[in-house]
Symmetry: C2
Subunit: 465 residues, 2 copies
């Protein structure tokens, strides 16, 4: 019986996905029970039951004598219903919500940011006081559509330092790095398109792509970037429209793109006519700059995005997109249509922080602190049999294998009951092939209670599986 | 020849719209030349020429012996190509870009906001200084997904004051009012859906809806809200999914929803199963509160959105959505997926301004100033033969008819050459039936140069048509 139940759910999810992707548009007739059963290699009774349940949910409806039809507006977009079926609790949105909704005092080794006490809060205070004295237009007016010129010029200089030649007019500010990616997706994707991501990748890429009703395909990630043979095969098989990656410090593994991988990846992308989005959100953590795809490609088919949420402030919403001039012009229209320009204020505060002498010193201290905490975390996790897949050169993440084949989602649920938020591997894995892996944030591992909770939960799982 | 040229463009636009709305999905075969000619009541040669031009643009392609097909990824989303054909320069994005990109010193009677010098800049300065002393988490951390609890509680009290009963847990903060509407559209709409707006309506509603690839239908607006008979006919004919309006101070007319229109409109919406979005962005300009649809309906099918861009600051990005509890929960997922939560900072500054005693006094002075400038503008525009469609009770807008049937887009282009940004009627009109109307912002009419430019341009048009 459980196998029959699983099959019914699989059929239901497949139909939901096709409805969401408009493969079955509203009012379309669904395949006959017999045809779908054959096509999905399940029994006729499984399909009958799946159709009945979807009809009960109001997703589809029966018409006398002519089968089942997609109901026009059965349900508003529910992200949980798009994409492959996932174990409850390890949905990509699970970690986000747990981390963002957690009480301040809760240890969150599963979250993707530094504790506020690690940030340059003094620099933020002085920048806010400086901006409080700025011109009235900075405080009260809309910004020009591209955003604060002085910050765009600063960004152009910062990019030049890592080899990306781009004038300030080809940089558009956004409200966040995620919003930058969202706008690029709106600009380039249509429902039903295929998008390539790393496997594993930042879980919110998957949540965002679901909202765009596209198909997500993962390519195996190595410590030097995507596996090039697998990458070539994916282009051949799926003809993806877009590939999204982190070149600098990869989330969740902490890997770094090598120059040879970058070169081959871009050759393949060019042959396939595919656009590449490089999310550079962790740039300021780097000890030595990694190769940037945007530098190799000169922004011909690479779109470079980023933000300062991780290194300046997550409370100040400010990200950016650097891209081809013609694309930036269309993105300005899209920005106006969907968020009516932006303001100068957050950009001015970010710019002030970035140009204060204290920021550079803050970053140096931060990198050293992360290195120390990384070493300590490797040791303390190691004592529990939790071993890193890679010890990264920089950044806050450690992507680790759990001992004895323990299921990361189970460990995360058990730890949550003890007040510790973890990030189980499968939320990062489009193929759900990381059930034994876990991402740890070393800056959130300083509370030794976390290790007590982990030790206890691991012990219980070993003794009562 | 011009008539043939117009017909070709009409056919091209119709095909582009159907491709954008996925009525013709990628790789779909287009109708035969003969069938489309018959269907659109044009000649075969018109369709042949339209197909040829679209093929030259790379939108469609020919396959030997089997007609034309939609090319998979001919072009990324270009907002200019979605929606009905419009005269160049009166695209809804035209006014936004002209206003946002204009030099500070340029008079902008076409823009939709107050000059920075009219805003409570002192209040903003003191709020920024106060927030500079806040807890580190406020300055550096992500906010909880719904946004700053204290601002949501304040919003709940403000809404209660106009009869909208909603707990703070059913209010979600966004980065702007436009982003609030964008999220609602993503949640409720699918490409190809129909959305009802007022005719005229805020031009950016149309730009935003284009980005969602939906069909926009306008309903004639009266000084008391939409024309109810026309509204009922639209529901019957188009079965729209959504109706978007301003209840308080309508943009661009300055009209106010009456209680009887509100009541009948909601009855019709209920019968039709349609959702209503009420954009309350001008609330703080009101002298006497208008009926709110959200108050009548108790947030059953009305979604109430707003922001403080017009009355506190456009530079601080902060808007909100109040809706049914189950919808808010799904909207939180969408917010995380598309902008990864938000920050506390802008919300904290907005809250501080709103609760300062100076804000109330500022608003009182502002309303009085707007009333004075409205009277003055009516008089000075009247001297040029420009007459208001309605003299509104509150707000910054005057929706005016031009003398002698003069074309507003021509007047706007002529004035732009003299450095004055205007908002011609047709950017607000989905049916393009407002070519003789113009929206003026009375707060941006204090520079007498504007009237000189208008007088001269009107004179030239009358003498050299």
């Amino acid at each position: 019986m459980p196998r029959q139940g699983t099959k019914i759910r699989t059929v239901m999810e497949a139909i939901r996905t096709r409805i969401a992707a408009r493969t079955y548009p509203p009012d379309a007739r669904l395949p006959s029970v017999r045809a779908l059963a054959k096509n999905m290699q399940v029994s006729v009774s499984t399909v009958v039951e799946a159709y009945d349940r979807l009809a009960a949910e109001g997703v589809i409806g029966a018409r006398a004598g002519s089968g089942f039809y997609v109901l026009g507006h059965a349900a508003p977009l529910a992200l949980a219903h798009i994409g492959p079926p996932r174990e409850r609790d390890v949905d990509p949105l699970w970690v986000s919500r747990q981390s963002l909704e957690a009480a301040d005092a809760m240890p969150k080794p599963g979250c993707g940011w530094l504790p506020a006490s690690w940030m340059d809060v003094d620099g933020l205070r002085s920048a806010l006081r400086a901006v409080a004295r700025a011109d009235g237009a900075v405080l009260a007016d809309y910004a020009c559509p591209l955003g604060l010129p002085a910050l765009r010029e600063l960004l152009a200089r910062r990019m030049a330092a890592v080899g990306i030649e781009v004038p300030a007019e080809q940089i558009m500010l956004t409200d966040s790095g995620t919003q930058a990616l969202d706008m690029v997706c709106r600009f380039l994707l249509e429902p039903g398109d295929t998008v390539l991501v790393d496997d594993p990748c930042y879980f919110n890429f998957q949540a965002l792509l679901r909202a765009h009703r596209v198909q997500v395909v993962g390519v195996a990630y190595t410590p030097q970037g995507p596996d090039i043979a697998a990458f070539a095969a994916c282009l051949q098989q799926h003809a993806p429209r877009l590939y999204i990656t982190n070149s600098g410090i990869h989330n969740p593994t902490g890997g770094t793109l090598s120059a040879s991988t970058a070169h081959r990846l871009l050759q393949l992308a060019e042959q396939a006519g595919m656009v590449v989005v490089e999310d550079d959100i962790f740039a300021d953590f780097e000890v030595q700059p990694a190769p940037r795809l945007a530098a190799f490609d000169g922004l011909a088919r690479v779109i470079h995005i980023g933000s300062f949420s991780k290194t300046v402030s997550a409370s100040l919403r400010c990200g950016y997109i650097a891209a081809r001039a013609d694309w930036i012009d269309s993105l300005v229209d899209l920005k106006i249509a969907t968020s009516f320009s932006g303001g100068f204020l957050a950009a001015q505060v970010v710019r002030t922080v970035l140009t204060q002498s204290g920021y550079r010193k803050h970053l140096e201290a931060l990198r050293a602190r992360l290195a120390r905490e990384r070493d300590r975390a490797v040791e303390r996790l190691g004592a529990l049999g939790i071993t890193p897949w890679l010890v990264p050169r920089a950044g806050m993440f450690l992507w680790c294998r759990l001992p004895d084949g323990i299921d990361a989602a189970r460990l995360a649920r058990a730890s949550l009951q003890e007040g510790v938020v973890l990030a189980p591997g499968n939320v990062f894995s489009p193929s759900l092939s990381a059930r034994n892996l876990m991402r740890f944030n070393v800056s959130q591992l300083t509370d030794s209670r976390v290790f007590d909770v982990l030790a206890q939960a691991l012990h219980q799982m070993r003794t009562a599986p």
